[in-house]
């Protein structure tokens, strides 16, 4: 694995939150997640299904509107969460009108001083929203958005069955306003060759291909825009073992030749270990541990990471026989009643979500 150039984060995710639903039924799919991705590295995001890793990836390219938090791409803000601001404005406005957010009257009305304060806050928030809108537009105008591309999990569902391979791959270019057909053809053929297909495949339809070839088409579609970052959302979990190796090898090659940075979302830990430089472990919307992949597998600290690592099946019947799977129960494993946990750095580059007490425990464990 090539050593990533440190101190040059190409993507910076800050306190990203993505909530679904309203009121009591709010589901915190992503709750205050922060991490950096450095140029040229592969950042693996793991966790069980439903823990919010796909939502994180999708929010980062604004497939969802973030609730709050920011994402910076090359120090330029591309995602700014505004939903929380909008909610706050609504509440403040209701307060000024002498009502609670649910419409019932407030017991004591606000004093004049408080009203002016609230109005000032509203103006402030509106300014923030305006800034966010401007940033979003700006990012789109300067093509920053097209420099981040996504590869989807299901190669069957993510390709339009009525379009030929050429149309599918060239769609991005056409949307960007490229009209020169010859250039597009050349570019499509080049991409097909890069991913290990041949020119004749361009006129065929997706159903004529095998699973591995379809995933290659998906990859060709994402790299034609010459992106700097690729978000690969479980690109191999729908594929046969022998084809998995082909796709991973292809991604590895592309990463070296094109200098790609990859956010690799997966649940197969041995593949993530093999492919990633750094790994973030997510559990129920929170990032619980983050470290370089060797470090994470050598010194897992968070109990959830440990349980995850203990569940990996190995191709070795002897050691499998006496494998003990560690179970993780957040109720018994943590004492969060007195202190909310925070994301702390145990040793340089190794972060764990923990309380101060746990922090000391982990440090002691590490130094032992």
């Amino acid at each position: 694995m090539s050593e990533a150039v440190k101190n040059d984060p190409i993507l910076r995710v800050e306190h990203l939150c993505m909530y679904f639903g309203k009121g009591e039924n709010v589901k915190k799919a992503v709750d205050d997640v922060s991490f950096d991705i450095y140029k040229g590295e592969v950042f693996g995001l793991v966790g069980e299904s439903g823990c919010g890793k796909t939502t994180t990836g999708r929010t980062m390219i604004r497939l969802y509107d973030a609730t709050s938090g920011n994402v910076y791409f090359k120090d330029k803000r591309i995602v700014a969460g505004t939903l929380s601001y909008k909610k706050e404005i609504k509440e403040l406005k209701a307060k000024i009108a002498g009502k609670k957010p649910d419409g019932t009257a407030l017991e004591t009305k606000l004093s004049q001083e408080e009203i002016t304060k609230a109005n000032e806050r509203i103006a402030e928030l509106k300014e923030e929203i305006k800034k966010a809108k401007h940033d979003h537009k700006d990012a789109a105008k300067h093509g920053n958005v097209t420099q981040i591309q996504m590869i989807y999990q299901d190669p069957v569902a993510s390709l339009d069955p009525r379009m030929t391979v050429k149309e599918i791959i060239a769609e991005g270019l056409r949307i960007q306003g490229v009209k020169d057909n010859e250039y597009i053809d050349q570019k499509v053929y080049e991409m097909l060759r890069t991913v290990g297909l041949v020119e004749e495949h361009a006129t065929r339809y997706p159903h004529e291909f095998s699973g591995g070839q379809r995933q290659r088409i998906g990859i060709a579609r994402s790299i034609i825009m010459n992106p700097e970052v690729i978000i690969a959302d479980e690109p191999i979990s729908a594929l046969d073992v022998s084809i998995r190796a082909q796709v991973i090898n292809l991604l590895n090659e592309l990463r070296e030749t094109m200098g790609l940075t990859i956010l690799f979302i997966a649940h197969d830990l041995s593949v993530v270990k093999y492919f990633s430089d750094r790994i973030g472990v997510m559990y129920f919307g929170n990032m619980v541990e983050m470290a370089t992949s060797d470090e994470l597998f050598a010194h897992p600290l968070h109990p959830y990471t440990r349980s995850l690592l203990s569940a990996i099946p190995l191709p070795d019947p002897e050691s499998e026989k006496d494998r003990i799977r560690i179970r993780y129960n957040p109720l018994t494993d943590h004492e969060y009643s007195t202190e909310t946990p925070q994301f702390r750095e145990i040793v340089p580059g190794h972060f764990v979500r923990c309380t101060t007490k746990e922090f000391e425990k982990y440090q002691a464990e590490y130094n032992k």
Binding site: D240, I243, Y274
Partner: protein, 719 residues
Amino acid sequence: MAEKKLEVKDLTISFRTINGKVQAVRDISFDLYKGETLAIVGESGSGKSVTSRAIMGILAGNAIKDGGKILYDGKDLMKISEEEFQQVRGDKIAMIFQDPLSSLNPIMRIGQQLTEAMLLKNKALRKESKANLKAMFAALDSRMKEVGITDAQHDLAKFKEFGLEHSKLETSYTEALDNATEALALAENCILRIDSKALDATLHSDLLQFEQASKRSKDYFVVRDRAAELDEAVAAVKAAGTPKDEAGYAPVKEALTKAVSVLKEATEFEMPNTFTLAYYLKNVKNEIPQMPVAEMNALTHKETEQGFMDAFQAKAEKAVVYSSGETDKARQAAIELLKSKLPVLEKAEPVKTEVDAAVKEMKAAVAKCLDPLEVTKDSLTHTFGTSIDYAVDLYFGGFKRNEKEEKRFAKSSAKHEKIIARGKTPDWEVIPMSLVNLEAARVDMADTVKEQIAHFEQQLAANENADFAARTLEIVDYLKEQTENSAYYLSKHVARERAIKLMEGVGIDNPRRRFYQYPFEFSGGMRQRIVIAIALTANPDILICDEPTTALDVTIQAQILELINNLKKQRNLSVIFITHDLGVVANMADRIAVMYAGKIVETGTAKEVFYEPAHPYTWALLASVPDLDTKEKLESIPGTPPNMIYPPKGDAFADRNANALEIDFEMQPPMFQITDTHYAATWLLDPRAPKIEMPKVITERLERIKARNAAKAQKAEEE
């Protein structure tokens, strides 16, 4: 060696398609023993799913059963009718499918779908056990009479009487124990919740469930002397109701702690031997003796042995020895008859009337060779009749004219010639007029008989130094099991509890609420777990898992594999586990069969296949999966599996194998034996073959594993 549950012999299956006949499974054979897991590994399209579907009898409509046998419980699953198959499918052989959506009924609640099978199965099991018991009793009775034991009827009635009592006692005990375990888990969880200040609706429902479960946990053996204490604790919890704040929960916690101490003792209680106890109650004294369980077990055991069992066993053994001798005599006679009639079938042109007469005699002779006192059914002898009939029908049916086929043949061969006349080479072949190979069918007739003769000879040899005491014990165990089953009544309430426990077992949160939901309310992974739970409710003999965990993530995968493994141990299940991921089966499988292009290319115990893989395809499969220490480039398998309309002449994997030998393209390799259990079909094992090393990735990994295991062993030794 354990008992053979399922035998697959020379199974060949193909599919009729527009482009021609696709040969999906080509001549595979394997055995499945009781309580073992056989993993079938291969890429998609290697025929592993087709094999499992043939065992389940759910092949697609265009499938052609070219030949072979699937022997299970005295039946040949390839030849029985759909009505007979319905007795087996789901009940005896259950399957977990790849796609969970298609196996759930969209308009039935999950709970109903889960309990349905349990309740139906329970009813069927009672009926079946009663019939089995009756048959076995009758057989024992008649055989005992023949050896001069006249009071057999009396003994058997006695056995049945206390057998039923045993079933009652055991049901009551296990139910109470189940409930006590549940109550204990709930109480502990509630205490945790109170401690961590999670005073929400879940806590309230847990408390409610705890109350119910503790009420049902009282049995003579489970919550024995401290029932009053438990009642008190439950009453206290009930009295507290649902307080708003933490202070209100103080008495609840106190009561729960008390309950936990009672329940803990109860669940750690030694299990009484209900079988001997039942005898004691029915025949010695109708009162449970007041003493510790261990002592009681010893006492009742002694009473049962002296009072009944020893004498009964001696009598039964006499009957078994006699029965076995009689059957052996019948076998001798049958062998002679089969041998004398064999030339009729082996004629160059067999005559139908002669063959029919010979077959009739043979069938009668073979039918006499079934020992009525045999617990494990002799599948081959049972199916001899259907097998020979099938072979004869196939041969003589081959002479019939099929005008439609003749027309099609004439048309397509004319077309074929036309293309050749034009100077082109057609890319298709003419399908022959008759799909029956007459010569092969004729040989098959004689082979069926020869196989039976060899089987009898083998049995005769085995019977010369048979352990009749063990066989008698087997019969006693069988009787015990059947009486137990014939009286076991599963109530809807218990079925519900079991289903909920199973749902918890497969990792579904809040199963009590989920129990009443519809399939569409579940996510994909959840649905898969439900399907697994449903397959397990029927308590099958053989469980076929067709890539059950492919769509699930690691933690759940590990949970489900553990679940299947535990069930296998508890119920002595036989499992066929189909997957494309070799890594998954290392912990599950006892034996592994690697399939490629419709053939088994390598088979052996898990250790042999993982540590000493012999076939290049197994190497390729192992090399394409990264493990935690892999750093090098992965070796993917180039190309795609061959088109099975035109199966390759030589080794099917030769095209994708960089190190293929010349002979690989010309001749199919036979199965080379490496050890007693390890076989592989590759020319590399031929003594004339050049030495080709395994890929570096695997040798290095094996070295790492060896070093790690050696270090572990050394560490264990030091300790």
